[in-house]
């Protein structure tokens, strides 16, 4: 289908077909799905994942082309190579889906996520939190005498690492945007 961005020869050129057989290895893939920005389109994508039992590790969506009425949904999902291929083909079948790109197989990719952390504490812990935030290049966007709100941008792994460090230092709450991703180069 035109929506599925697999070049001539269809699925025979997909990464899945390079493998000898159905593999059990769980892989993590980042998919970029360009969709018509119409009512219900996000529900179609989410309904596909829940209805067919696929995983969503992260999902972000926003309009990226106002005049063209297009939104970009970035989905991080995990599954066996066969399941990943199915997810892409099933996404390609949705009528308002224009393009499905598997950033993970299409080459190097930049992934970024924004997160905010509220950390509460006094004394040594408070100083330590601020020091670590500096090392992670997190910004303080709000402060009281007992709390900080840090803003941090980076790959999901960096944000996970920062969260681990903040936990013993009085982490109160976290808000994460989910992954935005683009392929590198042209």
């Amino acid at each position: 289908m035109s929506a599925l961005k697999i070049k001539k020869g269809a699925t025979s050129h997909s990464a899945y077909n390079l493998r000898p057989n159905f593999s059990d290895v769980i892989e993590r893939h980042t998919l970029a799905v360009l969709v018509e920005n119409e009512p219900g389109v996000l529900a179609r994508v989410i309904g596909l994942f829940s209805g067919r039992g696929y995983n969503i590790d992260s999902l972000t969506v926003a309009e990226v082309d106002h005049t063209g009425h297009l939104s970009r949904i970035t989905i991080v999902t995990s599954g066996t190579p066969q399941v990943i291929e199915q997810i892409k083909a099933q996404l390609g079948r949705i009528v308002p889906v224009h393009e499905v790109n598997d950033l993970t197989v299409e080459g190097p990719v930049v992934e970024r996520e924004l997160a905010m952390f509220k950390v509460s504490g006094t004394g040594e812990k408070r100083v330590e939190a601020l020091r670590l935030a500096d090392i992670f290049r997190a910004n303080v966007v709000d402060s009281t005498l007992e709390t900080f709100v840090f803003e941090i941008t980076g790959a999901p792994e960096k944000i996970d690492a920062f969260a681990e460090l903040m936990r013993p230092l009085g982490l109160v709450s976290v808000a994460r945007t989910g992954v935005a991703a683009l392929s590198r180069g042209d």
Partner: protein, 583 residues
């Protein structure tokens, strides 16, 4: 050129512009403006069903027997929810439908208004696509797009939800024009893969064609090309339930249906082949049996218009995404240009093996005694109707499998059955849809008494429109397939699988003004069938058959194709614990 008109008028105009001649529907509050327009025109015939589920199945019957999209018009709320089973049925069997539903006015949406339901939300997973139209100006374009989506690529049902104020308001009508939609699934297959398949055909020693509903959906030309390919190569051919008729049952390359209740020779050929050419089928679980043991020695090619069908269940070696007709045309061209080669010596040997399997005669049965065997009833029905211009619909269960085994289909679009969803209650309304499309043809619904009762209210529809549909009920007073599985799997504890308090079908027919026939003696069967055929009007034929007959051959759950149960086999302990969790 655009014209101004009300939304309701636009709907009728769009249907006319799309060439629609028949609509199946049921009125209600939220579609009254549309029904008012239906009243004031003569281009489109409206068939008033007795239940919205019936409308959708009738439209499916119409679509399957004509190749054109079926059209349904129902009201909001319960009208829409009653259509859900039919939509799901059409989605699983890839039947093009355009379903129009009324909706409460836009300013009341979300207020739990009378007969309000979130129709696009409810039907999102059971349609190919759906729309809620909130502006009258957009209605024309959406309706034309709906027909485009329903019939392009892999066909399927679409739904357009139209609030009542949108029907009343006046707007610009967008006439039908060539689609500018981004949705344009490619129909041509990749030539590299097609050439790879030709090479495989040239060298195959034990090839088999495994065809499905995709051949029929592709249109009559695809069936013609398939016949040409089969005759030219001399390869054996089997088909799924959905594909019956694309290759004629009288053809000498025909192995019969494959799958759970498929023929022995078909399943054995699938298991032992070295080249499997899947044309428009989807490796459904009724076909593959247990996947790990499925056709272990074969190279597999798969032609399908839906990329998601490829490698979904079975990994294939030669995937070809495209429309069956287009791909077969290219395939034949390439194969002919390379000298029409096959490994004929090896294929002749393969046929010898297949003849041995055929000699098992897996459909044999003995009609002894004074009780009609269901197999005998269908054999006689076949013999007495095969020369008619005949269309068959079925309900779901044992009778459906026996019909697939004992009736022969020479042409596509002659066999309407609920394959993927297995919807009891499908066959009767479907027969009404078929008869509407083919008023002079013989339309028979082969039914079981339990399935038939699920949509028996449509007798009113058949009578109202003078549709001479023949309801051939194999009455075993059981939910036969459920009973068979309870015998196989649950120690013969027949929980809730008998049909208690059945009506007198003859009196039931007469109550509607139709003809009722009852037959219980094999010696009377031919005369009774002829009486049914000669009657000009709807008939309910109550054929009392053997109550405990099992449907064989059968691949038990969790077994491979070469591990079939044949008639007369012991039924206890054949399915192990692992197989018993499968359906």
């Amino acid at each position: 050129m655009t014209r101004k008109m009300t939304g309701a008028k636009m709907i009728v105009q769009a249907l006319i512009d799309q060439g629609v001649d028949t609509v199946f529907g049921y009125p209600g509050g939220a579609v009254l403006p549309i029904y008012d327009e239906v009243f004031q025109q003569n281009s489109i015939k409206h068939v008033l069903v007795r239940h919205e589920q019936g409308a959708v199945h009738a439209a499916e019957g119409y679509a399957r027997s004509t190749g054109k999209p079926g059209v349904v018009l129902v009201t909001s709320g319960p009208g829409a929810t009653n259509a859900v089973t039919g939509l799901t049925d059409a989605l699983l069997d890839s039947i093009p439908l355009v379903v129009l539903t009324g909706q409460v006015p836009t300013f009341m949406i979300g207020s739990d208004a009378f007969q309000e339901a979130d129709t696009v939300g409810i039907t999102r997973p059971c349609t190919k696509h759906n729309w809620l139209v909130k502006e009258t100006d957009k209605l024309g374009a959406v309706l034309h797009e709906a027909f485009h989506v329903a019939t392009s690529g892999r066909p399927g049902p679409v739904l357009v939800d139209i609030p009542k104020d949108v029907q009343f308001a006046t707007g610009q009508y967008t006439p039908k024009k060539p689609s500018t939609s981004h949705y344009q699934p490619p129909v041509k297959g990749d030539m590299t893969e097609i050439t790879a398949l030709v090479e495989a055909i040239e060298s195959a020693k034990r090839p088999v064609f495994y065809t499905g509903g995709g051949v029929i959906n592709s249109g009559p030309a695809a069936s013609q090309l398939l016949r040409e390919l089969v005759e030219a190569t001399g390869f054996p051919i089997t088909s799924t339930l959905m594909g019956l008729g694309s290759y004629p049952a009288s053809g000498d390359k025909w192995l019969g249906m494959l799958g759970m209740h498929g023929l022995y020779e078909a399943n054995m050929a699938m298991h032992d082949c070295d080249l499997m050419i899947n044309i428009g089928a989807r490796f459904d679980d009724r076909i593959t049996g247990v996947v790990d043991l499925f056709s272990p020695k074969s190279k597999k090619a798969h032609i399908d218009i839906d990329p998601s069908s490829i490698n979904k269940i079975i990994r294939v070696d030669i995937p070809i995404v495209g429309d069956v007709g287009h791909v077969l045309e290219d395939l034949l061209k390439v194969w002919k240009s390379r000298g029409r080669k096959t490994n004929s010596d090896a294929v002749a040997k393969w046929w010898k093996q297949i003849e041995e399997w055929r000699n098992v005669d897996c459909l044999k049965f003995e009609q002894t005694g004074k009780i009609i065997k269901p197999q005998y009833a269908l054999s006689r029905l076949e013999a007495l109707t095969k020369d008619h211009d005949r269309y068959i619909t079925t309900e779901v269960g044992q009778h459906q499998m026996w019909a697939a085994q004992y009736l022969n289909f020479e042409d596509p679009n002659r066999w309407m059955t609920s394959g993927g969803l297995g919807t009891m209650g499908y066959g009767f309304p479907a027969s009404i849809g078929v008869q509407m499309a083919h008023p002079d043809a013989l339309v028979i619904n082969v039914a079981g008494e339990a399935s038939w009762l699920m949509n028996m209210q449509e007798m009113g529809t058949a009578m109202q429109y003078g549709l001479p549909v023949k309801q051939f009920i194999l009455n075993n007073e059981r939910l036969g397939m459920v009973r068979q599985w309870q015998e196989l799997l649950h120690g013969e504890r027949y929980s809730q699988s008998w049909s208690e308090s059945l009506p007198d079908f003859v009196k039931l027919a007469e109550a509607f003004g139709a003809k009722g026939i009852i037959c219980s003696d094999p010696d009377d069967l031919d005369d009774a069938i002829l009486e049914m055929l000669n009657y000009d009007g709807p008939v309910i034929f109550d054929c009392l058959v053997e109550k405990h007959e099992n449907c064989f051959p059968m691949i038990p759950s969790g077994k491979a194709h070469n591990d079939m149960m044949l008639a007369g086999a012991g039924t206890q302990g054949v399915i192990d614990a692992k197989g018993s969790v499968l359906v």
